[in-house]
């Protein structure tokens, strides 16, 4: 296989001065976005998406992915220094990161966090480099039934592995699909659920939904909880970094375990958060000093960060090979691909090799530049949180409004953004997960078309999803995940362990 050759070619694209410059800009903005409350990877990418319309697609995707790496790094800064997880998968990092910072070892904790992030990401990128072309080749043989089965698997894993209330996950998914169906039905040309309103004909854009649900919703949630940044001082210098690097090889096993858990959980949707918790739990179980965890054990920072970053990168694998995003951020990037005129899916590898391999190579360069930049500029990024929240809050609202408007140059989108913001706030409080809603909104048309085409192929029989070998296996796994929440309590009762497990949410 010409994998290495392709990758080398990709590096030639990623290492041009312009693309490196783009990567630096992306990482800087991404880290700022990751540090700010209310702005995460997904809506940061969504807000910046309109700025990429005029760029070449490869530079555009490098900007957005770099932003994503930056946001992943930035989440670690707030977790360690301020005990505020910027993203759900940074929650486990606060357990030991913040105590370390309180003990004056914030520099050590941050170095460990960034280094583990980098190693976790690198592990996933190497796997993507080798697996992505293979997976794309297999996916080329997929027909509509296989694609629908994969969609089913995508959403079933939210229900079976998401960790929240399975019914509420189901509601989120269905709601996303319903919102996606609003407007013109491209197959029959009929209007659906528009009720005579012209504005509803265009349907709902998921980018606006992302900005509202995650951006405005998050800001409402954080003002309700009362923004207070009781920061700790960072003692970050080259000496601390080098000293920490000397200790880190001790945790080699934790790195490997975390990276595997992260990759395995990550290419399935919603995997980063459970991966980080699982990696933390494993590290604690196998540690010689489990009692030190939660009080400031460096290994407790290494484990979740490695897994979270490995999972975050792995989420890109199904996006570039199958055209099915593994996370809301990947979903926004997928939307970007369509806007730039690229057809996401397995054909990308044969039709746009420059784009795919440039993207994969930029994952290496982006993460490498990223880890160096965050190590060097931590005090600068941490200082962003010193901006008073009475400036930060309206600023974020304004930026969100600009981003929503820019998608289609339409005023109604700003109103949708506000409404989605309130929905996001209420849903978050009631534990309805938001990621499945966004993914369903993105994939709605694709899933519906795959379902319809499959049914046309089979003359309306659902048996087509189990009779074809590949589709059958995927459907079986999907059904298993769907019934998992029903099976688990029953299984526990059978074994006589009545103790409900503390599930990571």
């Amino acid at each position: 296989m010409g994998g290495i050759e392709n990758l080398f070619h990709g590096f030639q694209i990623a290492i041009t001065p312009f693309n490196l410059f783009i990567a630096v800009i992306g990482i800087t903005l991404g880290t700022i976005i990751g540090v700010l409350p209310g702005l995460g990877g997904a809506n940061g990418v969504a807000i910046l998406l309109p700025l990429t319309f005029t760029m070449p697609p490869t530079s555009a995707i490098i900007l957005l992915t770099s932003l994503y790496w930056g946001a992943l790094f930035g989440g670690a800064i707030t977790s360690v220094l301020f005990n505020i997880p910027g993203e759900p998968w940074s929650v486990a990092t606060t357990f030991d990161g913040y105590p370390l910072a309180r003990q004056g070892q914030g520099g050590q904790a941050l170095t460990a966090a960034f280094t583990s992030s980098f190693i976790g990401a690198l592990f996933s990128i190497v796997l993507i480099t080798f697996f992505a072309p293979l997976l794309a080749e297999i996916a080329l043989r997929f027909g509509p039934p296989e694609f629908f089965a994969i969609q089913l698997l995508t959403f079933s894993s939210f229900i079976g592995l998401g960790g929240g209330d399975p019914l509420k996950s189901l509601v989120s998914i269905v709601l996303g699909f319903i919102l996606a169906a609003v407007g013109l039905d491209i197959v029959t040309g009929q209007l659906r659920m528009t009720f005579g309103f012209v504005d509803l004909m265009k349907g709902f854009d998921f980018i606006v939904a992302v900005i509202g649900l995650f951006g405005i919703g998050e800001i409402l949630l954080s003002v309700e909880e009362g923004l207070s940044f009781k920061g700790t001082v960072t003692g970050m210098n080259l000496r601390v970094v080098l000293d920490t690097w000397k200790i880190l090889p001790r945790y080699a096993r934790t790195f490997v375990r975390g990276a595997f858990i992260g990759f395995w959980m990550g290419f399935k949707p919603g995997g980063a958060t459970p991966a980080s918790f699982m990696s933390y739990a494993f590290a604690k179980r196998f540690s010689k000093h489990p009692e030190r965890f939660g009080k400031g054990e460096l290994e407790g920072v290494v484990a979740p960060e490695t897994a979270a970053h490995a999972a975050g990168v792995a989420a890109m694998l199904p996006m570039i090979t199958l055209g099915i995003p593994g996370s809301p951020t990947a979903a926004v990037m997928l939307g970007g691909l369509i806007i730039w005129g690229l057809q996401p899916g397995p054909l990308l590898f044969t039709e746009k090799p420059d784009f795919v391999w440039g993207l994969i190579a930029s994952m290496y360069t982006g993460n490498f530049i990223g880890v160096l930049m965050v190590l060097a500029f931590v005090p600068f990024f941490a200082a962003i949180l010193k901006i008073p929240f009475a400036i930060l809050t309206p600023l974020i609202v304004v930026v969100c409004a600009i981003g929503s408007y820019a998608v289609h140059n339409s005023m109604i989108d700003i109103w949708y953004m506000l409404i989605f913001g309130v929905i996001g706030y209420v849903f978050k409080k009631l534990d309805y997960p938001l990621a499945p809603l966004v993914l369903a909104l993105v994939l709605g048309d694709l899933a519906e078309n795959a379902l319809r085409q499959s049914l046309i192929m089979s003359q309306g029989s659902l048996a087509i999803f189990v009779s074809r070998p590949i589709a059958g296996v995927i459907t079986a796994v999907a059904i298993f995940f769907f019934v998992l929440p029903v099976l688990t309590p029953w299984w526990r009762r059978m074994r006589g362990t009545a103790v409900p497990s503390a599930r990571p949410s």
Binding site: V174, L175, A181, E224, A390, I391, L430
Partner: protein
């Protein structure tokens, strides 16, 4: 919390009902060349109603309850929401840049009690910066009003 859960579930059931009715109007069965337009949304609506109804029953049975939001914690949320709504209303007549300047200034002064100097710097600086980035560098047009027209944009 229970009341909020019940209310949300009820709204979702209603929404599901609307979806089911609209889908039945356009046809949920088999057309001449495949499933008709209402087929997919119809089943989504059915699932939504069933799931939301189960959530409502579970919420109804739940004994332990904590309030969804207390009055004093709701107040900062509303303080963000209603000025933001006013800003969105103002965008149509005044343009986005002026509306966001007013919003920034108002919020900073009212909630943050910042000095007039800081308020002026931010309220003018931020829209100016976004104008340069979006209109001039990346050529992404924003809604503009009389001020921009007067300045020749």
């Amino acid at each position: 919390m229970r009341a909020a859960d019940l209310a949300t579930a009820s709204i979702l059931i209603l929404l599901g009902g609307v979806v089911v009715l609209d889908s039945m109007r356009i046809g949920i069965g088999w057309g001449t060349d495949g499933p008709r337009s209402g087929f997919f949304p119809f089943w989504l609506g059915v699932i939504l109603i069933l799931a939301a109804a189960t959530i409502a029953v579970q919420a109804w049975r739940r004994a332990i309850d904590k309030p969804f939001v207390t009055r004093e914690r709701l107040s900062p949320v509303l303080k963000v929401l209603w000025p933001a709504t006013v800003m969105v209303i103002l965008i149509t007549p005044l343009g986005l840049y002026v509306a966001s300047a007013i919003y920034l200034a108002f919020y900073m002064r009212w909630v943050g009690r910042h000095s007039w100097l800081a308020v002026a710097l931010c309220a003018i600086g931020v829209p100016l910066l976004t104008f340069v980035v979006f209109e001039l560098w990346f050529l992404v047009p924003m809604p503009k009003g009389p001020l921009e027209a007067w300045l020749g944009y």
